[in-house]
């Protein structure tokens, strides 16, 4: 199996290294990831600046290619210039922090996986659902197990999964579930400050508002100690509304 591994926390992050160690047990792994942290970049691509590729070593050994760009740029450049053959699957992560409910739309981790699917390679994003928990061992093991399952899975090449792992040790995790994107929202607040020159600036903060986590929702299962696996798509059409409104078209 050939795996392209990327992320949005950057090529020097702890999560991508944990994933690499487990995935390289079962596959030839090529790492192409942002040279600097790119969290919350969403599905950005770089069109106004040139992109560059750097060879990166970790623990004194060649680790992979660092791209001065976004996660989606990494996938595009990997396919265009770095990889000699298409990978079997693309893995994005392990992200340090949850990508659950509506937060998915801000996620660089998820966007890299989506970009891969757009390019015709099935892929999954994987995130540690807590910024306070720093042990990636159980998440990395699941990345390996799920890669093996996914590799054999009879699905289209444009399939994307969004995986979140609860902040627990391997023995405490109760299992995993296919889930849907949760409905929880985030109440945005800003911290308003004044800089030394007397000018106002803002830092985005905010808190989660639980919205009846349904029994199939990603955040519900995470809170119960399960790994959540949500299939995503990048056709954003609201077909229900389209079907209702399109009657007008006939006029």
């Amino acid at each position: 199996m050939k795996i392209l591994l990327t992320n949005d926390d950057g090529i020097y992050s702890k999560g991508i290294y944990a994933a690499y160690q487990e995935l390289s047990k079962i596959a030839e792994v090529v790492v192409v990831a942002p040279i600097m942290e790119q969290s919350a970049v969403g599905h950005s691509i770089t069109i106004s600046d040139p992109l560059r590729i750097y060879e990166v070593s970790r623990k004194d050994k060649f680790f992979g290619y660092g791209v001065k760009g976004t996660p989606a740029d990494c996938i595009k450049l990997a396919f265009y210039d770095i990889l000699t053959t298409k990978p079997d699957i693309v893995v994005s992560g392990i992200n340090h922090g949850a990508n659950l409910a509506s937060n998915v739309i801000y996620s660089g981790t998820v966007s890299a996986a989506t970009e891969a699917a757009l390019q015709g390679v099935k892929s999954f994003a994987i995130s540690m659902a807590s910024i306070d928990y720093t042990n990636f061992a159980a998440a990395a093991e699941f990345a390996r197990e799920f890669s093996e399952l996914f590799y054999k899975m009879d699905v289209n090449h444009n399939v994307v999964f969004n995986v979140n792992v609860p902040p627990l040790g391997k023995d405490e995790i109760k299992g995993w579930r296919y889930t849907v994107q949760g409905k929880s929202k985030y109440l945005d607040t800003f911290e308003k400050r004044v800089d030394p020159r007397g000018n106002t600036y803002f830092w985005l903060t905010g808190e989660k508002i639980e919205v009846n986590p349904g029994e199939y929702c990603d955040d519900y299962w995470i809170s119960k100690g399960y790994i959540s696996v949500t299939p995503l798509k990048y056709d954003l059409t609201d077909y229900e509304l389209f079907n209702k409104l399109s009657e007008r078209n006939e006029k």
Copy 2:
């Protein structure tokens, strides 16, 4: 009617000014837009840098608030700090360039509209479907007409429309249609160059690959000279695949 107007081309762009002129005929319009161009930023939010707000004048008059941040940041900051009451609708555009088919996922213009819907205000993105055409008159008029229709429309507050206008004069446009996101893809290529110091860098280029434009697709109707109006949603779950896979959950 109260309208919040934003975009991703920046507060000094031609498209937002054209929209402002038409929308202010029917509504109180507050402009909150990026101070610098933010194209292809996708649904980015700024979490590692402070955000700032500047008062911006155009044609010697106060025009609106320029935000050092992304389109999604503009919406969040507008709701948190700038607006005193929630607007009735949010308009994002007029973008200079198409946001059709899979390109929607890279679009800052669309992401601003999506962010507004997440915050509970119905919204639409509007784009001129050509970078070569610079007459925004017909698009701006449609922005006004559609705003009036949308204001009265009995739909949820989380509805988002993605509007594209063909590069034609008002009399040449044949009408408008509710559409779905097209299936066309883009073949990414990069121009590889060497800088004066001998280092390689890349510019993203690329071309569109038409994929059987279906009769309901946005790009199909644009090519026929119609305005396309696609309802979007931000629940990215692939329910079809979820329903198929979730049988496993019962085990």
